[in-house]
């Protein structure tokens, strides 16, 4: 474990903050760190850029993180896990994010946007949950962008005739829908999904995050290729 200092905290929307550290954490898009919030718990969080984490206040520890400020110090283990793979030069890139699942995909977007054609889609409940200005927005209530979910919007705008690579992160029902849609089109080898699970060690030994097919989310993932997942 080593310690990092907070350089700035950006409020992204009501209960989401981007915590930027004073140094690069030297990870790749899709990797996560075990963040030790002193006095609270140690939790896994995806990198949302080389030096930031984007956190939604859900539990006790993540809610405490909403109040973090410049100068705060956190313990870090990692970055850990398998990152997203890079697309081929002739592939069109789609990012399909649901809610706070945008965090790892933002890092991927920033990495790819200058060299690839990237279409980012962010599904949220309503316009108050908009976090970044670049993605196409899908809202459940239609208060901004497309009315519907991220997968519906993706299916509407995706060009399945062209070579593509689809990266996704978000709630399980959304991932399942996307998985089914890609499977139906025989395109599972173009899909990469970042999964979440309860984690303890983060380094592949305790077994807390093992899936039904025996894969460790922390070490064999969190990014899995569509063909390697059995939902």
């Amino acid at each position: 474990m080593y310690c990092v200092k907070v350089a700035e905290v950006n409020k992204m929307c009501r209960d989401v903050v981007e915590i930027v550290f004073d140094r690069d954490l030297r990870g790749y898009p899709g990797q996560f760190v075990m963040l030790n919030v002193f006095g609270y718990e140690e939790i896994p969080l995806s990198l949302s850029s080389p030096k930031s984490l984007t956190v939604k206040g859900v539990g006790k520890t993540t809610k405490a993180l909403l109040n973090s400020k410049k100068g705060d110090v956190f313990g870090v283990r990692g970055p850990f896990g398998r990152p997203f793979s890079l697309p081929s030069v002739d592939e069109k890139v789609y990012l399909v994010a649901g809610g706070i699942g945008i965090a790892p995909l933002n890092y991927l977007y920033q990495t790819l946007k200058d060299e690839f054609e990237v279409i980012a889609i962010h599904g949220i409940r309503c316009k108050d949950e908009i976090m970044y200005d670049y993605p196409e927005i899908a809202t459940d209530d239609g208060s901004a962008g497309f009315k519907g979910n991220a997968v519906e919007l993706f299916l509407r705008i995706a060009d399945f005739e062209e070579k593509m690579r689809v990266y996704s992160c978000g709630p399980k029902p959304m991932l399942l829908n996307l998985y089914k849609a890609m499977k139906k089109r025989n395109l599972l080898d173009c899909l990469e999904i970042s999964l979440e699970n309860y984690m303890k060690c983060g380094i592949g030994i305790c077994g807390s995050c093992v899936t039904e097919c025996g894969k460790r989310v922390c070490k064999d993932g969190p990014v899995f290729k569509g063909i390697d997942i059995i939902f």
Binding site: M1, C3, M34, N36, F38, E41, E42, I43, V73, G75, R77, K200, C201, G202, I203, G204, I205, C206, G207, S208, V210, T211, E212, C213, G214, R216, K219, D220
Partner: protein
Amino acid sequence: MLEVVISDLKLENPVILASGILGSKWSSLAKVAEFSGAIVAKSVGLNSREGYKNPVVLNQECSIVNAVGLASPGAKEFSKELEKLFKVTNKPLIVSLFAQSSEEFSSLPNYFPFASAFELNLSCPHAEKLGMAIGVDEKAVKDCIKAVKEVTDKPVFAKLTPNVTDITKIGIAAEKGGADAVVAVNTFKAISIDVVSRKPVLSNVKGGLSGKAIKPLALRCVWDLYEVLDIPIIGCGGISNWKDVVEFILAGAIAVQVGSAFYESYRAVEGIVKGLNDYLSYTGEKIEELVGLAHGGV
């Protein structure tokens, strides 16, 4: 060449998955079972235990400190999970048990009729009244093993703690209690402190040390036990390659357990078994012929 027999348990190779590693779910146990001689599930007690809050594991140079706190869903639930294993593997499953007393220990084997053997956790260094709390007391060790032997015909192993003045005394107590083998050793008492927050890193403050750093310490325990025991010894502590296994066998172990090495690779056991196979093909020996050889002439 690699086959070993411990009590009446036949293993196709001597490399066993250690308890507490990838052992909570049938799916990961099944995966590790593919190349292992046997697998030990995560320790289970009568009732569910939540374990400690994160952070519970700290990886550092050459070692890992942990205090997971014997998190367990309890015997009834865990039995359902482990049962699923038998659809996919026929490797021996050793069920690791923890309890506060000999009575509680003897209530546990019935939940696991499918187990090939039981391992008594007399050595977890970070749970109050459990594990090591019993394992440092010769009489308690003897009583607990005796109690479990009375309710099962399966082999019963005692996993020993190195955190005692003389591990051979505990080993002898286990043998007297009727243990079919001892497993030596569990983690060493340890702690880690963060210099920035100036606080212990683990939520439980104190934990146990495993990984490469403890290998010579564990090896010495096996060496000492071999000189006093008649029952087989299963070596455990910091094993990460085939040479480590050969060292433990030469020191007197008949088999070994591997745990922290899974930090390096999910396929840790596969690599070790392949290495052992190559080594013995080269020397033309059976692994059983090597047990305790380093003691000769000393």
